[in-house]
Symmetry: C2
């Protein structure tokens, strides 16, 4: 008997019909003789609808109250899925994140899981029940409801799998696994049978929306095998594993893009030590993730610093930078959310010379201007104009994977 | 400085605009120098919408999971109201029922409050915050979410007021208080300045929907002064108090009606001891409230028993009675939900002769047939055909209060 954690996203539980479909799929796994914990997200667009609803009350809702509001989405999903399983003659029990023992820090809307006490889940499993858990949410030690960052249900699932020492964590999505690029943009994409968690981490953080970044980090840290597969077919998907199996094979795993990017540029920063620290300390304290950072010193001995954040963080990040900028005396601050990031991902890329050059060539051939460049051991990213995203992805995919 | 508990119903928080209106009203009370706890219901029709949603999944959802689903309604209200108060520059904090320390028994969908630990609410009040609490919900000792029966937010408010030893519990509604009859049916109704909790109990249980029955019971038991008033005006409403002030005045307080009634008739019950017990024990065990009970013994020494339950309980009650009926051997069981109950309420009514006769006369004059009659110290109720409800209310009101 295996212990399996399955996670179904919002599109999989968007309507009563889809909830019933998931129930059947869950029951099938159970009937194959497995113990089963199912993590679900809020139905369809509910989270967005709730954010919209809050915006009709106020422009700047307190984060604690947003979490109180948003947590109702997953709570509805778990109740409906449990009902659908009952209707098929099986026993299920639903738990909110707090009830399932998910403890987080108190950074509302971007909380991090600190511990999971799986006693309640284990007890229900031992009674033969299918356990349904609300993803995306937890509670502080003070019992305040928190939510993880967007897409956090993946993290909930992997963290639960780790706490329960599950045999596998299956992430169900509307695609059949991890592809070499977004199938909506590139026609001849290939599905990857397996990918290392390190590569997946880059793929995830670079905008391949199949798996949430922190979920991959968690999977790597606690050695949870993750299987990304489709809600709507029985085909095998992509296994995310610790080891890289095909080191000898194609080093390029895929092309990713991320349109949820915005750039803040700070011009005329005094070129004295600690300036960058002051800016990024303030941004980091607000739990805003900074992605690409580029700094140059101009002829006037003043530095220009550009960096990217997610589009949703732009407003807050800009306010922080303007406040810090005033204190340290900068010349100008600009913001641009008409940008995107395209990236090439693959282990060992750095050791193969010429990869970066070929990527820049692919963009140059399409006359796409590169605004920022950043590289790591397993990826090369370029920030470009948002309007050029699709053409850039196709050009790079065709050059390396076509 | 007074401590005030205010309760706003679903219509008061149905839209973002209405939530903002409630926020202003709440802040006004706070600025008058009071400590304030606000209990809110689910917005508008949300509870009905969720029940409808569940019905698309299954005909018989498990009660625990329905509670999990329904509790999201109030949770959305409290978050939105807290945001609206913040937007006006005041500090608020929302708590779900469980967070506010509301402990109930484990009868899902009809849970009864067993205790309230108000420490968290008190702590927030002492920090000067306006505390927003989700009505209608609580948690068992096992931390399972429960809901009280429909309209239970009134009970939540009064119970919190009792636990906090509040100076008054204000129940805000869409009418200006308690009337001598339903203003939608009778034109020349009068608003009552005050009513005894005993009378209110009859008024509430008889279908005057301004205040939930258990709320009045709670108010009487714990001596909580309750003020029923309008969300949309500043006028004083009706005070529900322990003592009756105007014993000498008009003894008739009002005419009420309840269309949410259904009748089950059991014919040919063996006239031996314990038969009625068996039937009503089984119905009671399912936490179904039985209202009017009438029993006659016919010429064949078999008894006919009729009783009423709320329309929503009919299906379940009928199934129970059919099962018991099979065991004890009855001849026929029928159900009728085309009935309604009209009642005349007032303290000391029994000591004034002729009140019942005049009520029956009012109905006879309109050729309205009386199916069942029941009386208590302070009320006379008649079960009639549902279609005659409005005419009956008008006839009785005109005879006693016109």
């Amino acid at each position: 008997m295996s212990l399996i954690v399955q996670k179904y996203g919002g599109t999989s539980v968007a309507t009563p019909e889809k909830v019933k479909h998931v129930a059947k799929r869950v029951i099938k796994t159970k009937e194959e003789g497995n113990q089963l914990v199912v993590v679900v997200s809020a139905p369809g667009d509910m989270t967005d609808d709730l954010i919209e609803l809050a915006s009709k009350i106020t422009d700047s809702p307190p984060a604690r109250e947003m979490d109180m509001l948003l947590a109702t989405g997953e709570q509805q999903s778990i109740a409906l899925l449990a009902m659908a399983i009952y209707a098929e003659g099986h026993e299920a029990i639903s738990f909110t994140g707090p009830q399932a023992g998910v403890r987080t820090n108190s950074v509302h809307r971007k909380a991090r899981i600190q511990s999971i006490n799986p006693d309640k889940v284990k007890k229900a499993l031992s009674k033969g029940k299918i356990v349904i858990v609300a993803g995306f949410q937890g509670a502080t030690l003070d019992d305040d409801i928190t939510t993880l960052s967007r897409g956090g249900s993946d993290t909930s699932a992997v963290a639960l799998a780790a706490a329960l020492k599950a045999d596998v964590c299956e992430i169900y999505t509307d695609v059949e696994g991890v592809y070499t690029a977004d199938p909506r943009i590139v026609k001849d994409v290939k599905r990857l049978d397996s990918i290392s968690s390190e590569e997946m981490l880059e793929m995830a953080s670079l905008g391949a929306k199949v798996l949430h970044t922190r979920a991959v980090e968690y999977a790597e840290k606690y050695d949870v095998p993750v299987h990304v597969r489709s809600t709507f077919s029985e085909n095998p998907g992509t296994m995310v594993t610790k080891e890289v199996k095909d080191m000898e094979g194609a080093i390029i795993k895929g092309v990713t893009h991320d349109k949820d990017q915005a750039k803040i540029s700070v011009y005329g920063v005094p070129d004295t030590p600690g300036m960058a620290y002051k800016i990024f300390k303030a941004v980091g304290d607000a739990e805003i993730n900074v992605d690409v950072i580029v700094q140059n010193v101009g002829r006037d001995n003043k530095a220009n610093i550009s960096f990217t954040v997610s589009g949703t963080d732009l407003k807050e990040a800009l306010a922080i930078v303007q406040s810090v900028g005033k204190n340290i005396g900068v010349e100008e601050i600009t913001a641009d959310n008409e940008i995107a990031k395209v990236s090439l991902v693959g282990v060992g890329m750095k050791s193969h010379s010429g990869v970066a050059a070929r990527m820049f060539e692919a963009l140059a051939e399409k006359k796409i201007n590169i605004q920022m460049i950043t590289t790591s051991e397993i990826k090369i990213s370029c920030v470009i104009a948002k309007k050029d995203t699709e053409e850039a992805v196709r050009a790079i995919h065709s050059k390396f994977l076509g």
